[in-house]
């Protein structure tokens, strides 16, 4: 398989923790500009796969390439983030003691060393970017509130906003609609489809309604490897997927 024109290329990746094979010979390819939904039962290795891509976990074997040529196994979290891979955690993780605006400011693309941060002054361009993102995630009227005071769904949105501020090439979004109302879920689907217009996105989600809403290619993971891949209808018709995940 050719790596060129892929944004993410995993081949034969395995990792085990204390003898437990969390990822087992996983191969997954994401084309540039593609959005992919990943489904699978608990323990299928979805989060571990994200850990490997973002540099938190080193694979025991296998190849992980970003943008066709960058070997991600040789870089750590901060470097990978700077290359343009953004990640939203399963549990929304924002800086609770900061305001919404400050959360976005810390995420905003720019130099990441100490001294520029020490003497940093917000420029008009940055203010405008923050303004735009606040509009997209619909938290403009709460900009001066502490992130701790947001609802669960709003925190999810703030975290997506922080991803946007980072302006990554590839977004890894782990369970973005967990704990959201139906209306919020629909909004999030709309938001992600918007983002996918000029970014590559991987979405991990259990909510099949939401996955259908996204209308993209689906990969079902099971016991650390790909069980089935294709359109949602194809995957959900797959005997084995029904067996291990969807239930009869």
């Amino acid at each position: 398989m050719s790596k060129s024109n892929t944004i993410l290329y995993l081949d034969g990746v395995s990792v085990s923790f204390d003898g437990f094979r969390a990822i087992n010979n996983l191969s997954l390819v994401l084309d540039k500009g593609e959005m992919r939904a990943i489904i699978g039962p608990n323990g299928a290795g979805k989060t571990t796969m994200m850990d490997i891509v973002t540099g938190k976990t080193r694979p025991d074997e296998g190849e992980v390439f970003f943008d066709g040529q960058v070997d991600l196994t040789r870089h750590d979290e901060a470097e990978i983030a700077m290359m343009g891979i953004g990640r939203k955690f399963q549990k929304p993780t924002v800086f609770e003691s900061h305001t919404i605006e400050d959360n976005l400011m810390l995420a905003l693309k720019g130099p990441r060393s100490i001294f520029p941060a020490l003497f940093h002054r917000r420029s008009a361009a940055e203010a405008r970017q923050i303004e735009d993102i606040l509009g997209i995630i619909r938290l403009g009227d709460k900009r001066h509130e502490l992130a701790a005071n947001l609802s669960h769904g709003q925190k999810q949105w703030l975290e997506i906003g922080m991803l946007l501020a980072q302006d990554p090439k590839l977004l890894l979004v782990d369970e973005p609609v967990a704990g959201m109302t139906d209306a919020e879920t629909e909004e999030t689907a709309r938001l992600l489809k918007d983002i996918a217009r000029d970014h590559s996105v991987i979405v991990v989600e259990h909510d099949m309604h939401f996955v259908r809403e996204l209308g993209v290619k689906v990969t079902c993971l099971h016991e650390g490897s790909v069980l089935s891949e294709g359109t949602l209808d194809f995957v959900s018709a797959d005997e084995r997927v029904v067996e291990v995940y969807l239930g009869r």
Partner: protein, 410 residues
């Protein structure tokens, strides 16, 4: 830009007031000591000047700890080591100033070296006859130690209680090393019998007053400096690392460098505190490396309220004033009182004195607002209360009322 924020109306009033009080004390206390006759009711005796000068050094040390503990969550149990190293650097300068006035009258070697049969000055004592060199060492030695220590510790992602334990081990190792006579720092007697600092007699009232003023001014500067750091984007990053370290990594920040910078700056501040402390107490010995000293600093910061800049200063002043009084009246009970104080503060005042003050004032304000609102329109009451209770304290000098607990990222 920083000064603009500083003088902005209403912004960080508490910090401005603290700096003003310290600068005023730096002028008034020496005046009342030197310019007023001892018979006057306003006379400040020399021993009070020396004692409060010492407390101000402790306050600076507590502030240094606050920068890393309160704002970055690094509970250092070894900050006394940086304090003592700064103190030793100053002590070495003061030793070299004694010259031939020592007991053995050796113009080059300090008394303890003559006593221990040193033939010549060890290499690391060279240069300490110049104040400027000693002053650089006061900053460089603690800073360098913190940089190297932090570089390894933070890069290996040692956090939490393990980090606290190795900082404690660091100060204990230095304690043992400095106890040895062949280290060349005076062994367990340390450095003492100082005569002059910059040509002035260290015992003289005027010098003591000047040292007091220097301590107060330095503390005021440190307050301003810490406040400026904490209010910058870097300061926000520092708190972000405290609350969700791995989030900052996935945003591309190097959390280890963020911590390393704060840790090094903090160690330098602690070193300055030690350097101001030594001429005022007239001795520096390995006892300053005692782990219990470093733990006491943590208690000062906790009592005053960590992460508040002003709190640790108040804590250091109050606890030490209490200590001076207590050790005079009931010396054998002091350690029990200190331990009890720490337990009591942890249980009853988890945010320290400043935190209690803020929440008390917040409540009072909310009540007042509520009663005003009640008179105006009964409907407005709940909104007034909830608004106040949720109002974010975004200025570094204040304590957030809705204080979010640090949370672990995945």
């Amino acid at each position: 830009m920083i000064t603009g924020r500083f003088f902005a109306a209403g912004a960080d009033r508490r910090i401005a007031i603290t700096i003003f009080i310290l600068l005023a004390a730096a002028i008034i206390v020496p005046l009342l000591n030197l310019g007023v006759s001892p018979a006057s009711a306003f006379y400040v005796p020399a021993y009070i000047v020396a004692l409060t000068g010492k407390y101000l050094c402790y306050a600076l040390l507590a502030l240094a700890l606050d920068l890393v503990w309160g704002y970055c969550g690094i509970l250092s149990l070894g900050h006394g080591a940086f304090f003592a190293l700064g103190g030793y650097a100053m002590g070495m300068y003061l030793m070299r100033q004694i010259g031939s006035r020592g007991v053995y009258g050796n113009p080059i070697l300090p008394d303890f070296m003559v006593f221990l049969n040193y033939k010549e000055l060890p290499w690391f004592w060279h240069g300490f006859d110049h104040f400027w060199f000693a002053a650089i060492m006061v900053l460089a030695v603690p800073g360098l130690l913190a940089f190297v220590f932090g570089w390894f510790a933070f890069r290996s992602r040692v956090t939490g209680v393990y980090l606290s334990i190795i900082t404690q081990a660091m100060t204990y190792a230095l304690l043992l090393a400095f106890f040895r006579n062949d280290m060349g720092f005076g062994g367990n007697n340390g450095l003492t019998d100082f005569k002059d600092i910059l040509g002035f007699n260290v015992q003289a009232d005027a010098t003591r007053s000047a040292l007091f003023a220097a301590s107060a001014v330095m503390l005021a500067l440190a307050v301003f400096f810490t406040w400026a750091i904490v209010g910058s984007k870097y300061g926000k990053l520092l708190m972000a690392v405290r609350d969700a370290e791995s989030r900052t990594r996935f945003l591309g920040w190097r959390a280890e460098n963020v911590k390393l910078f704060a840790f090094t700056v903090s160690a330098v501040m602690a070193g300055i505190a030690g350097a101001l402390y030594v001429p005022q107490v007239g001795i520096i010995n390995p006892g300053e490396f005692e782990p219990s000293n470093s733990i006491e600093v943590v208690i000062w910061a906790a009592v005053g309220g960590r992460g508040t800049i002003v709190g640790p200063i108040i804590g250091a002043l109050l606890v030490n004033a209490g200590k001076s009084w207590f050790t005079g009246v009931l010396p054998e009970l002091w350690l029990f009182a200190l331990g009890g104080l720490f337990v009591a503060v942890t249980l009853l005042l988890p945010r320290g004195i400043i935190g209690m003050w803020d929440s008390w004032r917040g409540n009072a304000k909310a009540l007042r607002a509520a009663s005003v609102a009640e008179e105006a329109a009964k409907v407005a009451v709940p909104s007034a209360i909830s608004k106040r209770a949720r109002s974010p304290a975004r200025n570094p000098g204040e304590w957030s009322l809705s204080d979010p607990e640090p949370q672990a990222a995945e």
